[in-house]
């Protein structure tokens, strides 16, 4: 059976690519610290020596639209082109093409349906920055095949937070029951408190630092029950109007497991939002790893 080599949860900040590649007067003052944290985070994936990446993210009204909106969708295709015109325009993100791992995608679809997740699928999916940002930060050579898993955190009505956790648990079981000798990393990105297009956007820090502090603690300690006890579709409006993206972190907590303490935890307080990076090694920290718990 396949081995779950690493579970990684991260924010996805579309400005990282431009900040990290800018030079001279264009380079923001926080870029060097940000790059250092990302490089340490990247090392946690490199050490896991993955063969395949399951990438959990959310389409931001790029290919998926309100005339036909899935709640959870698996991409099954030999290739995935990536990034859209408005991401190039606003964030300077490059066009990319990633290989797909169709056998694992087919397994997740069949097994997921049989576990009562009515998963949608796409055989021609252009992926956006929710998946390409972690490729850029964690695997910039973009050399590994992926299986995209899209969730709807964006266009209400949304699934309940507990459903994200349940899907995360199922993804773990399904990866570990995949008949393959491959090493799989599951990588998911979401947000802590975030406001987009509302009065609290683009402040000196994220819109709700207290929520961010609690969220990092829930994730780092694997406190799924504590998190579910406080987080609801209604409550997520309060920390910021785009905070429902936190449910993708909850999905990743489901993959990591109840009580699973993250092996790598890091944060960076930026204007507008807090960055947060977590890595778990379900089968133990790889030997020679320099990761800090």
């Amino acid at each position: 059976m396949a081995e779950l080599a690493a579970v990684i949860a991260s924010t996805h900040h579309p400005f990282y690519y431009r900040a990290s590649t800018a030079t001279g007067a264009d380079r923001p003052p926080f870029a060097d610290e940000w790059v250092a944290k990302i490089e340490a985070f990247r090392e946690t994936l490199t050490r896991a020596e993955p063969d395949v990446l399951v990438m959990v993210g959310s389409d931001h009204f790029h290919q998926l639209w309100l005339d036909n909106m899935p709640q959870f969708l698996i991409g099954k295709a030999p290739f995935f082109d990536a990034n859209f015109h408005n991401e190039e325009r606003e964030f300077g993100l490059p066009k990319m093409t990633l290989r797909g791992e169709e056998d694992l995608a087919a397994h997740l679809l069949r097994d997921g349906l049989d576990r009562d997740f009515d998963l949608a699928f796409s055989n021609e999916l252009r992926i956006d920055h929710s998946i390409t940002c972690p490729i850029i930060t964690l695997r910039p050579q973009a050399d590994l095949p992926i299986v995209p898993v899209y969730t709807n955190i964006f266009a209400p009505p949304l699934p309940q937070p507990k459903r994200f956790v349940q899907l995360g648990r199922a993804i773990r079981e399904m990866v570990e029951s995949w008949e393959s000798d491959k090493r799989v990393a599951v990588i998911g990105t979401g947000h802590l408190s975030l406001e987009l297009g509302g009065p609290r956007q683009f402040g000196e820090h994220g819109p709700d630092p207290e929520f961010d502090r609690k969220a990092v603690e829930w994730i780092a300690s694997g406190d799924i029950e504590g998190c579910l006890a406080e987080v609801s579709l209604e409550s997520l409006h309060h920390p910021g109007n785009a905070t429902h993206g936190f449910m993708d972190f909850m999905l990743m907590m489901g993959v990591a497991g109840e009580g699973a303490k993250a092996d790598h935890v890091d944060t960076l307080d930026l204007f507008h939002t807090m960055e947060a990076y977590f890595t778990w090694y379900p089968n133990g920290v790889p030997s020679g790893s320099g990761v800090s718990a």
């Binding site: 859209f84 009065p199 409006h237 109007n241």
Partner: protein, 119 residues
């Protein structure tokens, strides 16, 4: 009121560079043309298979024609769509992050709970 149609306008104009420029230069004319020609196009169907019933209200038409992002927010248009398109329209006229901050400040009188964005 059709939050869906507002969102459809923002979505289709944002993703098409020519339409984005047209909306910047001639907002009222673009809204009139879009409602007549594009509003009832199903995006993954052939042109002949049109919807028969989508139209803006007067308030929606006015908010779009006046580039009024605050009114769009209060009507429940999806904030991500509005923000992304309006950054494309107006960021170029301002210093770094200046437009984004002014965009938020123009809404500082709006308190929780925000308008429902469900369609």
């Amino acid at each position: 009121m059709s939050k869906y149609l507002l969102d459809k306008f923002l979505f289709t104009v944002d993703r098409d560079p020519e339409l984005t420029e047209r909306y910047r230069e001639d907002p009222a004319g673009t809204v009139t043309w879009w409602e007549a020609e594009m509003a009832n196009t199903v995006l993954n169907c052939i042109p002949a298979e049109k919807t028969t019933w989508l139209a803006f209200t007067d308030d929606e038409r006015r908010a779009l024609a006046e580039h009024d992002h605050v009114a769009l927010f209060q009507m429940g248009a999806h904030p991500f769509l509005t923000l992304t398109l309006f950054i494309a329209l107006f960021e170029r006229d301002h210093g770094p992050m200046e437009y984004q901050r002014a965009y938020g400040k123009a809404m500082e009188h709006i308190s929780m709970p925000y308008p429902d964005i469900a369609t």
